[in-house]
């Protein structure tokens, strides 16, 4: 009921009305009563309201000290309120309590009353810009919004995307806005920091008091995938099918191309494969982090939530050199070249003097090449993995090994034939070599002779034998070779 309230100039009627009201409320008995007068507060405008009689001294600002913005007054009390705008604020009049205009407001306390002083702060533009190459959203915390409209700036490739976000707004003077960093899309972008307008430029939140036009810069770094060292004792390299990663891993860290940056709109396509290769003397132990197997294959939606592939290389234990020994088990002459390296073994048929060797620091693929000399014939290898049909023999030397080579000394077809029919002798080594060339049944026989003749191009032709044949048969042994015309 506002019937007893009047502004200055009608006090006589007011006193009467208040008295009537009090009598009415108390049922006709004289009884003390009070009512509350409240000042509505704004969070983004500043001003001070004081009352007379005293009781209210209210600053209407979010961050102002807590002051009494309401008070109780005895029924019928006439209270005068005075509004004073704060810095960079204007007072635009009263609302409520029957008050209007920009002057003082008088209310008679016959009930609880709320009065709103309409302070209006000066508003300043606030703009969010970005640096870097990443994706993110920089926005006002939803719990406390000052911007008009609310700031929610979408950043792509380090640039504000105004089509999808709000990167500019106005904010009332002296408001303290709070911007937060929201990771976007890949989940592995990184906030590098804010500009100095923020009270805490290192983030993750930016609190800034707006006292004038303000531009806040947020630096966003795109998602990155890194190769890291597990700190093992060995060294190695990590290569991949993407050009960015070609990384050298040591016990102390990584060098070279060890980072792949994922920038929005850059087509990735396909899987990414990381291949770990140990350096000489090291071995690759395994992966940790984003990689769980070797080679490490990352899916097309890479980078993974774990943006690191950690490679562990260890030094191989020191071992004794691997010794390859080449021995001659024939009576012929020839050489065997050992590659890699410059070792060349020369065999002259004197077995005891002919052995030679080569040493390798680690398992090595070795190739032996035999070259028969001075009419000798290559009689084959005696070693696992070596075929006697070939002059070369290649194998991986992973332990000490001895390889026998056989060079068959020069023999005429005549003598080799006679060795079968009892007219000549062959050394056991030559017999063995001839058998390796031939049917390899463990003995020197007719098949071996045929093989030797085919390989050497010799024939069973001997002119001197023809003369023998022309002579009368000897009483004892006689031998002859005769070519049928």
């Amino acid at each position: 009921m506002r019937s007893g309230v009047r502004w200055a100039g009608g006090w006589g009627w007011s006193v009467v009305a208040v008295a009537l009201a009090v009598l009415t409320l108390t049922g006709g008995r004289a009884q003390a009563q009070s009512f509350t007068l409240s000042i509505h507060s704004f969070i983004d405008a500043t001003g001070t309201v004081t009352s007379s009689p005293a009781g209210i001294k209210c600053t209407t600002a979010k961050y102002a000290p807590v002051e009494p913005c309401s008070a109780s007054f005895a029924a019928g009390t006439v209270v005068t309120l005075t509004a004073v705008p704060g810095e960079q604020n204007t007072f635009e009049g009263w609302t409520g309590g029957g008050c209007t205009g920009v002057g003082t407001c008088q209310v008679t306390m016959t009930e609880d009353i709320e009065v709103r002083p309409n302070f209006v702060a000066t508003r300043y533009p606030v703009t969010i810009v970005a640096e870097g190459n990443g994706d993110a959203i920089i926005e006002e915390t939803p719990e406390e919004t000052f911007g008009t409209p609310r700031l929610a700036c979408v950043i792509r490739n380090g640039r504000p995307d105004t089509e999808f976000g709000t990167c500019a707004a106005t904010v009332a003077y002296n408001s303290v806005i709070t911007l937060i960093f929201e990771n976007n899309i890949t989940g592995t972008n990184r906030l590098a920091g804010y500009s100095s307008e923020c009270q805490n430029p290192d983030g993750p939140d930016c609190k800034a008091r707006i006292t004038g036009p303000t531009t806040i810069t947020a630096t966003i770094i795109a998602a990155e995938f890194r190769v890291k060292s597990a700190g093992g004792t060995g060294t190695g390299t990590v290569t991949s099918n993407v050009p960015e990663i070609n990384c050298t891993v040591t016990s102390t860290g990584v060098t070279g191309g060890c980072v792949k940056t994922y920038v929005r709109d850059t087509p990735q396509g396909g899987t990414t494969t990381l291949i770990a290769t140990p350096a000489a003397g090291s071995r690759f132990v395994g992966w940790s982090g984003a990689c769980t197997s070797d080679p490490c294959i990352l899916s097309p939606d890479y980078p993974p939530n774990v943006p690191e592939a950690v490679a562990l290389f260890e030094l191989l234990p020191e071992t004794s050199p691997l010794v390859l020994t080449v021995v001659d088990d024939g009576t012929g002459r020839g050489t065997v070249r050992v590659a890699p390296g410059s070792t060349q073994c020369t065999f002259n048929g004197i077995v005891a003097d002919d052995d030679c060797s080569a040493s390798f620091a680690q398992p090595t693929e070795v190739t032996l090449t035999a070259t028969p000399q001075f009419g000798s014939t290559f009689g084959g290898w005696t070693a696992e993995g070596c075929s006697s049909a070939h002059l070369t023999c290649t194998f991986t030397l992973s332990a000490a090994k001895t390889v026998s080579v056989n060079f068959i000394s020069p023999h005429s077809a005549h003598d080799l034939g006679l060795a079968l029919i009892g007219g000549a002798t062959l050394s056991p080594n030559d017999r063995a070599g001839l058998d390796r060339l031939g049917n390899q049944n463990g003995v020197y026989d007719l098949g071996d002779l045929l093989a030797y003749l085919d390989r050497t191009g010799q024939t069973l032709t001997a002119t001197e034998a023809a003369a023998v044949m022309a002579a009368p048969p000897a009483p004892s042994a006689a031998r002859a070779t005769r070519r049928v015309p």
Partner: protein, 148 residues
């Protein structure tokens, strides 16, 4: 496995004829005007029977009286060694070449022994290159005959 074959080439008729000749000529002191019908040398053909194709060589012996020489047929190579012991001559012969059933050579003997028994023994046979120079394990089907 060695295979022995004995071939007696003389016939009873021939033997009787020879004996008749000897009788007719015997007892006379005066040189006969009739030329000796027995030639100084005779040639006996060595004929091979092989169950296999691709034989590249054969090693055999041929034994008998007075083997004067051994020759291989055209296209084959040969090495041989001859020993004589107690009047019996044994030639160990190695023949290389593409062997098929048929004549592979011949032996030369004294004409007077042309009808004597000559024994052959196949000791080794090996395949040629196409057969990996493998030794023939079973020689029972090989035959080597001598004949005029």
């Amino acid at each position: 496995m060695r295979i022995l074959h004995t071939i007696r080439l003389g016939t009873a008729v021939a033997a009787i004829g020879s004996m008749a000749t000897v009788v007719a000529c015997g007892g006379g002191e005066t040189p006969s005007e009739t030329p000796d019908p027995t030639p100084a040398e005779a040639t006996l053909t060595l004929t091979l029977t092989t169950p296999n194709a691709g034989d590249g060589g054969i090693l055999f012996t041929v034994s008998g009286p007075s083997i004067l020489g051994v020759t291989a047929r055209s296209g084959l190579e040969m090495t041989q060694r001859t020993t004589t012991e107690n009047g019996l001559t044994t030639s160990t012969v190695l023949v290389r070449g593409n062997l098929t059933s048929g004549p592979i050579g011949s032996i030369t003997v004294r004409g007077a022994d042309a009808r004597a028994a000559y024994t052959t023994e196949v000791q080794q046979v090996a395949a040629g290159a196409s057969g990996g120079y493998a030794q023939r394990a079973d020689l029972t089907a090989y035959r080597l005959a001598t004949g005029q």
